[in-house]
Amino acid sequence: MNCEQVAQYLPGLAGDELGAETIRWVQTHVADCPSCRAESARYRSLASGLSSLSAVEIEPPALLAEAIAERVRNERRRRFLPVPPVVSPEIARAVADNRDAIVSAGATLIAAGAAFALWRAARNRRTTRIASA
């Protein structure tokens, strides 16, 4: 067992990731090796420094909490609004695919309606003339 073999386990010595057997094996080497002992101590210091970082606050941007609160308020309002009627995707797709046909059918209907109205008006005028004659 030499330093190069032990080195890969040294970062695990300060954590809870190594099995008991590996810890014993690594510690046996570390006890007799000044450079691995120093490195192992360095990892312990790193672990202690890292765990205390969580208490170090990082200042969030000003008004972040207010922006989040506003976003949640909007979400709440949106949730409680009445749901608008929804057109099924199949119907929306069918309308989009046949738009030209639907427009020309609509135009034909309007033209037919106008022609019928004109014909009725002309007929009413003729009937009135005959009746008055």
């Binding site: 970062p11 695990g12 954590g15 990731e17 790193l46 205390s52």
Partner: protein, 187 residues
Amino acid sequence: MHIDATLVEAARRGDPEAFESLLERTHKAVYGLVYRLVGNHEDAADVMQETYLRIWRSLRSYRGEAAFETWAYRIAANAAMTYLKRRGREAEPVDPATLAPLERAEPSPDEPPDAGALEEALARLPVAMRTVLVMKDVYGFSLAEIAKQVGATEGALKVRVFRARRRLAEELYGNDVIVPMRRKKTS
């Protein structure tokens, strides 16, 4: 941060003021985690919005098995990981070779490096290493929890954590004081 259970219960029942009070009391601590995971203020602000929307949406399902702050941290880590996955390579820190060299800590093995140097060294790590170290060593997530968050096996994750600690030590102390590892033979 310690959060009063009655406040959580009121927010859970839908009291908007209780929710805003929870937000006010927790957002700085949660921001610390999110910022350390994503690495910059702009992305952290986006992830925070997503985090608190998720908290608000799932508050009714919170049963109090874990402390509220632990639960909030989990949601924040999950939102940050989703964000980082979507960003892909864009989320990687600037190539360290282009950065000014880190002012190295005196290689004293017994004293922890100061917080500023640690934060800077963490920020230089590749995202995959930084995220596992932040969750495991800074915030004390379990390996099983992190494995779920990053989508890796616990075995693979252990290796990643060891490599990340080693890389962090190299950033802080330099390669010359770190014991070299045995290289795998390549045929």
